[in-house]
Amino acid sequence: MTADKIFVSLGGLFTMGFIAWFFLFKNEEEIRAENSIDITVDGGYSPEAVFVPRGKTTKLNFFRKDSTDCLDEVVLGDFKIRRKLPLNQKVTVEITPQKTGEYDYSCAMNMYHGKIIVRD
């Protein structure tokens, strides 16, 4: 094996490791919602994970700043909510979860993900 091949192989392995670490091993930003919380939609949902108390109505205020077509709808499948998110406009979604657990939500194409964690 020549030097350049060894260099490419090691570089490749390192890059793959980096990709795995960068995308798959990240600490999600988690924020506790008190009655209402603002979620910015810009290349994803920020904060990504929201703690919501069980049995209480919480307002999720989505604000979309990203013009990506995919993000123009948010789908909270477990709460049977599908809502259009016009650009630069606050859209409020109300949920009153009755069961604790983790509920994923996503854009209409299921490419961007966010999470609602319901706790007592």
């Binding site: 091949k5 392995l13 960068f22 299921n110 490419m111």
Partner: protein
């Protein structure tokens, strides 16, 4: 408390502080629960209690603090949404066309054999670079714009793959153009790949254009339902008629509807007769005759006559509004089958990125010369061909179209999970009264005892007197007959209803019993001599009620009354259809076994659960489930709500009331039994589409990613070009959406 949402359009706002001022003013208005002002589009969303505050007061609250506001018309908003979407589509089409034309020109100038046709200047690398830059940072900018914020969140998506892939091709070509000596040093002839970067962008955008267009079709059904809502109603007051916006019409107001007009709201006819086309709500194709006292549904079309009717529900609570809400919720819900796709898609893009790197390393180390070029092109192909969108779209688009198609036929599915479970149904339990039959029994026979002094009309008198106070399901035919024959009724003392047995009470000092055999047994009334007559009536499918009397001298049977219920039209046909589909049909009823079996025979049902008390229905459903069957229970959704929820799928039929919709997984607005096989067929077809989509989406990636990596190269020396890859990828997600749209044309009724 009632709550209503409205948007106000506000002018005169300049800064963030204006927002605060208006929000405060609105929030302080009594009756307003929520106010949110948006500076950018100069509007406010307000939630309020319409009984506490009027629209005028809301507008006043804004003008009080120095701004001007008007109410936003919802229909207009819907229209604007559509216009906005169409404008977006036009932009997308223009971007795709521009990229494809530029890409085509560059391809022409660099494709071996074709290049002689191209004008000389196009062959200049710098000219190609300028053209490709226009695409890369013009139409191609949207890929970067979606990638960068996502990377900040440490997530990756479809756009990340395209951005990386085209950037690699673009950067390499740039190097070839401006520093060819580096490329030569690698032993590669310096040829740029500007055609790849531009055509890939063009084809992906073209795919998105088709996909967006197809996606608009998936929500068509609900848009049509919303379009059914009337805008105004012609209210009649003190002999005068005037048009009123429907959300201002209140319960109890009287509305006139002329032939050919839309009935604005739910209500009951006061005067006039007409034929009404209810197909858009119930799915029943024939006009329904309406006369005074009959119910009319808002959004349906009055065909022949003119009538006036009394409004019974306000706009927000009408059947149509409920249907719209139900459909919207169901379309947004998640099918269990989607979970797998969810898990896969959350790891998909990072894995593809890693595979692209691995491809590069493998080709560089093992590939033929020039290995760097092979390595680069194959890893770009891997990035481009991977298609996570198809996986994400596979289930939701099919659910949206499936639920929408159902709604058009009067089949309302509560959520995607119900739609999924319904395709597994292999047993359908039908409640007899009101589901299989019209639920309007008629009195057919009255037989008197030879020994008793109580004769013909007297029997009806006693029965009617007792039934008057009862809510027994068989009371109605007796009371109707009594009214028709104008017999008198007597006051009843110590009335008692015995569920599953009958009723008893005291009339003129004599104890009277009216019910089935069990009641007579319990009260020690001898009916052995009557057995033969009873059996004969029961074998004709009639329900027999015995009338017994008891005095100090003892108990005796006074006579019997028999009733029969008419089977619904198409009942036999519907049951036959279910059986053809391999589904066992079971009838459940509180009736006596012989009566039940006679009716079951008429419609071709083999299995009968007879003499089931109302509160035992639930247990019967569970018993059949224990046999390992997937059970659908069909009832009216009001009296049998527990049985409906116990079943795997509860189907409420022919009512569309809140309670029924709440209890049922599937609500059938039409009373036609054939909508049961139609609903199950719809579920089966939708599931087939979902499975096809998922198979296609997974299969596509599982086959083509390895091919892009070069899996076929060792055997056939073929390698996929990145341009073909982008075409395949665009086609893949479009085909998933189009396949879902085919469900619209699925034949689910009367197959």
């Amino acid at each position: 408390m009632e709550s209503k949402k409205k948007s106000l359009s506000i002018s005169g706002m300049h800064c963030a502080s204006c927002v605060r001022v208006i929000e405060k003013s609105l929030s302080k208005t009594p009756g307003v629960t929520y106010a949110n002002v948006n500076l950018l589009n100069e509007s406010a969303d307000v939630e309020y209690d319409p009984s506490a505050v009027s629209e005028a007061q809301l507008l006043q609250a804004v003008s009080n603090v120095g701004y001007e506001a008007t109410m936003v018309d919802e229909a207009k908003k819907e229209d604007e949404d559509k216009k906005e979407k169409e404008a977006q589509l036009r932009v997308l089409r223009r971007k795709a066309a521009f990229s494809l034309i530029v890409g085509g020109l560059i391809l022409l100038a660099s494709f071996p054999g074709l290049e002689s046709l191209a004008p000389w200047f196009l062959k200049n690398f710098v000219v190609q670079f300028v053209l490709a830059s226009l695409v890369q940072f013009g139409p191609g900018l949207e890929f970067y714009r979606a990638t960068l914020p996502a990377l900040r969140h440490r997530t990756a998506n479809m756009d990340t793959l395209i951005a990386f892939g085209t950037s690699a091709a673009f950067a390499y070509s740039m190097l070839v153009t401006f520093a060819p000596q580096f490329i030569r040093a690698l032993g590669i002839a310096p040829m740029p790949y500007f055609d790849v970067s531009t055509l890939v962008i063009g084809l992906i955008l073209l795919g998105r254009f088709f996909e967006a267009q197809a996606k608009m079709g998936t929500s068509e059904a609900i848009k049509k339902l919303i379009g059914l809502q009337a805008k105004t109603a012609r209210v009649v007051e003190k002999g005068k008629e005037f048009d009123v916006p429907i959300d201002q019409v209140t319960v109890g107001q009287v509305v006139r509807v002329r032939p050919g007009e839309k009935i604005p709201l739910d209500g009951r006819i006061l005067e006039g007769i007409s034929g009404v086309d209810e197909s858009m709500v119930t799915g029943e194709s024939f006009p329904v005759d309406k006369k005074p006292g009959d119910q009319v549904i808002g959004g349906t079309i009055n065909k022949t006559g003119s009538f006036i009717y009394k409004v019974e529900k306000v706009a927000g609570q009408s059947l149509l509004a409920q249907i719209i809400k139900l459909v919207a919720e169901a379309q947004a819900s998640k099918a269990p089958i989607q979970r797998l796709a969810d898990v896969v898609s959350s790891y998909f893009v990072p894995i593809v990125l890693m595979l692209a790197v691995a491809t590069f390393v493998l080709w560089y180390n093992l590939g033929p010369q020039p290995s760097f070029l092979f390595a680069l092109l194959s890893s770009i192909t891997v990035l481009i061909i991977a298609c996570p969108c198809a996986m994400g779209l596979a289930t939701p688009t099919a659910v949206m179209v499936g639920v929408g198609t159902g709604a058009k036929e009067g089949i309302l599915i509560k959520n995607a999970e119900s739609l999924e479970t319904a395709h597994k149904i292999n047993t359908v339990i039908l409640d007899k009264t009101g589901t299989l039959t019209e639920g309007k029994p008629e009195l057919t026979d009255i037989m008197e005892s030879q020994k008793s002094k109580v004769k013909g009309p007297k029997l009806l008198e006693l029965a009617a007197s007792l039934e008057k106070g009862s809510e027994h399901s068989l009371a109605e035919p007796i009371l109707r007959a009594a009214e028709k024959d104008k017999v008198q009724t007597f006051p009843v003392k110590n009335f008692l209803a015995l569920p599953g047995l009958g009723i008893k009470g005291e009339i003129a000092g004599r104890k009277v019993l009216f019910g089935n055999r069990q009641l007579m047994d319990k009260e020690k009334v001898d009916f052995t001599l009557w057995e033969e007559k009873i059996v004969k009536l029961e074998s004709e499918g009639k329900t027999v009620m015995l009338l017994g009397g008891r005095t100090q001298k003892g108990a005796e049977l006074l006579g019997l009354l028999a009733m029969a219920d008419v089977l619904k039209d198409h009942a036999k046909e519907a049951i036959h259809q279910l059986q053809e589909m391999g589904i066992e049909v079971v009838m459940i009823t509180g009736d006596n076994r012989r009566t039940a079996e006679s009716i079951a025979r008429q419609v071709g049902i083999d299995r009968v659960l007879a003499e089931v008390l109302p509160d035992q229905k639930e247990a019967e459903v569970q018993r059949i489930q224990k046999e390992g069957r997937v059970v659908a229970m069909v009832g009216d959704g009001i009296n049998d709500a527990p049985a409906l929820s116990a079943a795997d799928i509860g189907i409420a039929m022919g009512s569309g009331t809140d309670i029924a919709i709440e209890a049922a997984n599937i609500t059938l607005i039409s009373k036609d039994l054939r909508s049961i096989p139609a609903a199950i067929t719809l579920s089966q077809k939708t599931m087939r589409t979902i499975k096809m989509n998922l198979f296609w989406a997974f299969g596509y990636n599982a086959v083509l990613i390895p091919v892009a990596m070069g899996a076929l190269f060792p055997f056939f020396h073929v390698l996929l070009s990145p341009i073909l890859a982008s075409g395949a990828m665009a086609f893949s997600s479009v085909s998933v959406v189009s396949n879902s749209l085919l469900l619209k044309r699925a034949k689910i009724k009367y197959a």
